[in-house]
């Protein structure tokens, strides 16, 4: 998995609550049994003029020249709610989004971010609004520097906000760890649990 240490990038504000994973990538854009080839489907219903078309809707924030090379999204509550489709994270990542800053996240989406090297940052609505107002004045110059080890978002002016993140998730992101490999180290423990559990709950085991 890609490591996440520090990231400097342009931020775009989509300050709506409840941006769901169907919106992040509609079903019709998930056309292959693959984690790849999804970036064109990102926000498809908002990004293009017509469903299924690829004609850019110039009113959509990510299509505006001021927001070219956006790699950070600022959003409202419950970002990534709804369907568990990991395609939402894969599409964001392939498009170039490395971090999403929102007051809260859909919990499956949040896990999916961590497993794919995308940083979900929780800040208050007020802080996000303040940051969005500042970014919007000149997105290409008013960029953000996210320093994960020190858990800070620096504005290019020098101001910063601190954020919280679980130690386990931070560690996973900074080291780019693969959760399966980490867990497989604990295989003996898992097998011992199973041996004991077989005696207590034999009906669970179908062999």
């Amino acid at each position: 998995m890609d490591k996440f240490d520090s990231h400097t990038g342009i931020a775009a504000a989509l300050l709506r609550p409840n941006i769901d994973t169907d919106t992040i990538i509609p079903s019709r854009e998930m056309t292959r049994v693959s984690r790849e080839g999804l970036k064109d489907g990102l926000f498809a219903a908002w990004r293009y003029t017509l469903p299924g078309s690829r004609e850019a809707n110039l009113n959509f924030i990510l299509n505006r020249p001021a927001y070219s090379n956006t790699s950070i999204i600022l959003s409202g509550d419950n970002f990534g709610c709804g369907s568990s489709r990991e395609h939402a994270v894969w599409a964001l990542k392939e498009y170039g989004i490395r971090a999403i800053i929102a007051p809260s996240f859909g919990s499956i989406f949040q896990n999916n971010c961590i497993r794919n090297g995308v940083l979900p940052i929780v800040l208050s609505n007020n802080m996000i609004k303040e940051m969005a107002d500042w970014v919007e004045k000149d997105p290409q110059h008013n960029y953000l520097i996210i320093a994960l080890p020190e858990q800070k978002i620096h504005w290019s002016t020098g101001k910063y906000f601190e954020f919280e993140l679980d130690e386990a998730e931070k560690n996973m992101l900074i080291k780019g760890l693969d959760a399966i490999s980490l867990t497989q180290v604990l295989d003996n423990k898992i097998d011992l649990f199973e041996q004991k559990d077989r005696l207590e709950r034999p009906w669970i085991y179908l062999d």
Partner: protein, 465 residues
């Protein structure tokens, strides 16, 4: 020590505390479908990782598969066939049980895993699908994950999980005539917001929940994810035990006796404390329907569409205004004045036998409004057969509904099935997001009874007679 149901289930499966807020949890059952499961199986193959307990992994075709009679591998969605074929091949190579197209046990994941006894009380079950929380209705600890997490579960029989807090939602009093589990959960979400359950495992309790059948409990737990909860749960009782008996993969004989002794302990101890408790008086719940593009945009059918100007938060007001524009509705309109184009009965929320019976009972001797297209898609092939044995299909057909094969169908647009652009649909499904049922579609969520009544009237309507 006094424990909540959730704490009992968690402790039973906790292998160790990894630290940093994570626990290693043993996963008893894994369920896959052709859209996200196919990718999880491919991920394991690509990494040359084996499935640790293939006998505990099951797969169905539900998301992309067509639901028209006489269906095969071809789908309305271009490339849908690729998902179906890839899933079939991967399932075969992995040696897992697949309920393929044409199999008598094919159906929607969360319907199938319950009716076959794959999900059991007290078991942990994951599926790369957000509505896996449905199975909490049996007292199972079941939740939705991404494809990568599903790979983790299959490769190790475990997941690394942060322990959620506990919430009890206590439903007190009596439900009024025509009010169902769907109305209960929509009412809860409308009162507390879609973020209300964030970070919690939610136990639904109270006399009203005890009196619900198991299928209604599935409906209640199904939309726990729309409440942002980690999962929903209902304690085990005699109804649960009766439901489990004789299911294909459920224990039999002595093992069943042993299991029942264990299952009888799966309830919250009297006096155990929850991090949060919400109490709902059921007399206050009316037949409920959504007007906007979030499940929290739900009101009584008797009410008028709310006015964003009355909202104090500008974020909420803006979201409401946007929703009204998308839905092409205005503040102050009575819900019952909203004219429909289509009606859909289906999905893991509301397409089990009891749901179809409730709708059919209303539809008996009535016909769907001439301007409404109506479709019924049973939750599983077993539900379809059972409904046909009771003659329910004939009632739906006589009323003017299409009667189809099982699958997720028009709950969303994955297989390409839709009523069409800007169509207004009353639907027994779980999400009214923008474009959820196809580009530019407008969804109103409601119970099967309300959908049947509204389909006949041609306008949003409660079942009054």
């Amino acid at each position: 020590m006094l424990k909540t149901l959730f704490e009992k289930l968690w402790t039973l499966h906790e292998i160790s505390i990894i630290g940093n807020g994570e626990c290693l949890i043993f996963i008893d059952r894994m369920f896959l479908h052709e859209r996200t499961g196919s990718i999880a199986l491919k991920g394991l193959e690509d990494a040359a990782r084996a499935i640790k307990s293939p006998q505990h992994v099951f797969c169905t075709m539900d998301h992309i598969v067509d639901t028209t009679l006489g269906r095969g591998d071809e789908t309305l969605m271009p490339n849908g066939r690729d998902f179906i074929v890839a899933t079939r091949k991967s399932a075969q190579r992995a040696g897992i049980r697949l309920f393929d197209i044409g199999d008598q046990n094919q159906g929607i994941s969360h319907v199938v895993s319950a009716e076959l006894g794959i999900a059991l009380p007290g078991s942990t079950l994951i599926c790369p699908d957000s509505h896996t929380c449905t199975l909490g209705g049996l007292g199972a600890l079941a939740w939705g994950v991404g494809s990568t997490e599903a790979e983790h579960a299959m490769a190790t029989n475990t997941l690394r999980v942060k322990k959620p807090k506990t919430m009890r939602v206590d439903f007190r009093g009596k439900l009024s005539q025509g009010v169902t589990a769907k109305d209960m959960i929509l009412h809860l979400i409308s009162q507390e917001g879609t973020g209300g359950g964030a970070g919690y495992a939610v136990e639904f309790s109270g006399q009203t929940v005890r009196e619900l059948g198991i299928e209604a409990r599935f409906t209640l737990c199904n939309m726990a994810v729309e409440f942002s909860a980690f999962t929903g749960l209902v304690a085990v009782d005699q109804s649960t035990l009766d439901y489990i008996q004789d299911r294909t993969f459920a224990p039999k004989g002595n093992e069943l006796k042993q299991a029942i002794n264990h299952w009888n302990t799966l309830h919250t101890d009297i006096g155990a404390e929850f991090d949060r408790t919400i109490t709902i008086q059921c007399e206050e719940i009316k037949p409920t329907v959504t007007w906007g593009t979030s499940p929290q945009h739900a009101i009584s059918i008797e009410d008028e569409i709310p006015d964003p100007k009355r909202e104090t938060s500008s974020i909420t007001a803006n979201a409401m205004t946007r929703a009204l524009t998308y839905m092409d509705l205005s503040p102050g309109m009575p819900m019952t004045s909203v004219k429909l184009d289509a009606a859909f009965i289906g999905s893991c929320t509301n397409a089990r036998l009891s749901d179809l019976r409730a709708a059919a009972q209303y539809l008996q001797g009535k016909t769907v409004s001439p301007w409404v297209s109506a479709v019924c898609v049973p939750g599983s092939s077993q539900v379809k057969v059972a409904a046909e044995a009771e003659g329910l299909d004939k009632i739906f057909l006589a009323a003017g509904f299409e009667w189809r094969e099982s699958g997720c169908s028009m709950c969303f647009y994955a297989g390409g099935e839709t009523f069409g652009k800007q169509k207004r649909i009353i639907s027994t499904t779980n999400r009214n997001f923008e474009g959820r049922q196809g580009p530019e579609t407008r969804t109103h969520l409601a119970s099967p009874l309300t959908v049947a009544a509204s389909a006949c009237k041609g306008y949003i309507s409660a079942a009054e007679d």
